[in-house]
């Protein structure tokens, strides 16, 4: 009976087997497993790897430094990448795009440069209970140093936030709200429009952690009207070591530098320095120009395919996996029942089996998933789940990957010594 249903759904999803994008990813030529850990880092298409290599082979010099043609060429590559990111985020100005190493560095930049200088005792910082540690620890630091209180925006077990929870958290004392657009554990979406409206009514700045959303959703910082936004290149198929901070120009202009040193100055005397204008003020030291070129290639690759197609695939495959998991006893998926509300992230527990053991068993079947607390311990504590397994999908995953995963998960309890 179940076999028949699976057969039927397999036929319906036949088009998922024919994944036209998978061949773009060289890793799948040598590694034959089911890669279901894209929320940790995505795989890279050949065009991204090639873009980095091309930079080093043909345009490499220290950007923004030399007056010779090669350095100008390197600068040009780097600034083109900045404009590609500007367009990707629909930002008003290119200098609102600051290149960093990753989301964590972007969030720390805002915490150190904006947070420490704009928050005071009596103020409140609001973070959601869903936050990844990288959007929590910087604000714990700001709270400890400035005396501003840290408040939590609570959520339901599926990650949804009610209007009451919002108005309870965001008050006239709120000066800063830092939230993830998509939870890295539940895949749920935060009501950003409402949060921004409430926060701005109180004169508070909004920082959006887009690490999990930027790879899956089209983003317009102007439409969202956020003050800062951070994401990592490597989660949207770009290289590791390149990340982005978007900041509203008038805010960035007033902020002091985060790191100081080379390439971020206008002039330096023995005792003081005049800092360079945006965006160089926030990009101290030699920049990751090859990484930026790779990120641009990733963005172009994403744009060529289009978010509509990416979401359609992810949603179909997520639904297929969720339906398959419903058939397996002793499995509990965290978050929404609807595929649409998962952003490709499926986090689950298996009764009586620790998440690390589940992940090890899946590994022997060549299924790569993440296990543990997912750097979101406050959320896991709230959900009453100390550790869980996370499978996360992206556009290169196939129904074959999903089947391999479902097959392996269905055997976990038996292989751990439980009877049927």
């Amino acid at each position: 009976m179940a076999d028949k249903a699976a057969d039927k759904s397999m036929k319906e999803n036949r088009w998922l087997l024919e994944n036209p994008y998978r061949k773009d990813f060289p890793i799948f030529r040598s590694w034959e497993g089911a890669y279901l850990d894209s929320a940790a880092t995505a795989q890279r298409p050949a065009c991204v790897i090639q873009a980095e290599q091309t930079f080093y082979e043909r345009h490499n010099a220290n950007p923004l430094r030399g007056f010779y043609d090669l350095s100008l060429e390197a600068t040009d590559c780097y600034e083109k990448a900045r404009r590609a990111v500007q367009e990707f985020l629909h930002a008003a100005h290119p200098e609102e795009i600051i290149f960093t190493r990753n989301t964590t560095e972007s969030l720390n930049l805002v915490a150190y440069s904006y947070g420490l200088h704009n928050l005071h005792a009596g103020d409140e910082i609001v973070v959601s209970i869903l936050e990844h540690h990288s959007n929590l620890l910087p604000w714990q630091m700001v709270s400890a140093r400035t005396g501003a209180a840290l408040r939590f925006l609570e959520c339901g077990p599926d990650g949804t936030v009610t209007d009451e929870q919002l108005s309870e958290a965001i008050t006239e004392r709120t000066k800063l709200v830092a939230v993830a657009q998509v939870s890295n554990v539940l895949g749920s979406l935060m009501p950003i429009e409402k949060i921004v409206k409430l926060a701005h009514e109180q004169g508070a700045a909004v920082i959006l952690d887009a690490a999990q959303s930027a790879p899956h959703l089209p983003i317009s910082v102007q439409e969202l009207n956020v003050d800062f936004l951070a994401f990592s290149g490597h989660k949207l198929m770009g290289p590791m070591g390149i990340g982005v901070l978007y900041g509203r120009r008038e805010l960035l202009e007033k902020m002091p530098p985060f790191l100081t040193g080379g390439e971020m100055i206008a002039s330096v005397s023995r005792r003081e320095a005049v800092f360079a204008p945006l965006p160089q003020k926030f990009e101290a030291g030699t920049v990751n120009a090859a990484g930026a070129a790779g990120l641009q290639a990733a963005i172009e690759y994403l744009q060529d395919i289009g978010f509509e197609e990416i979401q359609r695939r992810e949603e179909k495959l997520t639904e297929y996996v969720l339906r398959g998991m419903e058939e397996i006893p002793h499995i509990h998926v965290l978050g929404s029942k609807k595929a649409k509300e998962h952003c490709g992230i499926i986090t689950f527990t298996v009764d009586g089996v620790h998440s690390h053991d589940v992940s090890s068993i899946l590994d022997t079947d060549h299924v790569a998933v993440r296990a543990g607390h997912h750097c979101a311990q406050p959320l896991m504590e709230y959900l009453g789940v100390p550790a869980a397994v996370r499978a996360s999908l992206y556009l290169y995953n196939t129904a074959e990957d999903a089947d391999r995963f479902l097959q392996s998960v269905s055997t976990v309890r038996r292989r751990m010594g439980y009877g049927e």
Partner: protein, 147 residues
């Protein structure tokens, strides 16, 4: 599709039906061992009389490897001298690193079921948690005995 795992029958039996996972009220030594990166933790309790481990138990929470390994360890060392327990834990720790002889591994009795962990670098710290905790206790115990 289904491949052999290192979760063999001995390991899963110790995990699902541990003999020594309970409290021990009149313990002489109690020590907590934690793997901060994965959250595995155990509280190990030992009774030691005249240099001999006369009783032992543990409570804790964590993956099957960490919990089964502690249970196997207690099964092996209870009734043995402290010195013998230290020698056996050294063999175990070497086995996990892939540096123990067949003859030595045989001495570990059921704990030898964890030998394949040597191919699983990510899980080594799970397997050795109980053993490191016991070695710490034994170090303390021999210190007090010397005084």
């Amino acid at each position: 599709m289904e491949n052999r795992t290192f979760y063999n029958a001995v390991l899963t039996e110790h995990n699902l039906h541990p003999m020594y996972k309970h409290d021990l009220e009149d313990a002489d030594f109690t020590l907590e061992g934690v793997n901060p990166s994965c959250g595995d933790h155990i509280t190990l309790k030992l009774k030691i009389t005249d240099g001999v481990i006369t009783g032992g138990a543990f409570v804790g929470d964590g993956c099957a490897i960490s919990q089964a390994s502690a249970d196997m360890m207690l099964e092996l060392v209870i009734g043995r001298t402290q010195k013998e327990a230290v020698r056996l834990s050294d063999i175990f720790l070497r086995m996990i690193k892939g540096n123990a002889s067949e003859q030595e591994i045989e001495e570990l009795e059921e704990a030898s079921a964890l030998r394949d962990i040597s191919h699983m670098p990510a899980r080594v710290k799970c397997a050795v948690l109980g053993w490191h905790t016991m070695k710490e206790i034994l170090k303390e115990a021999s210190g007090t005995a010397d005084q």
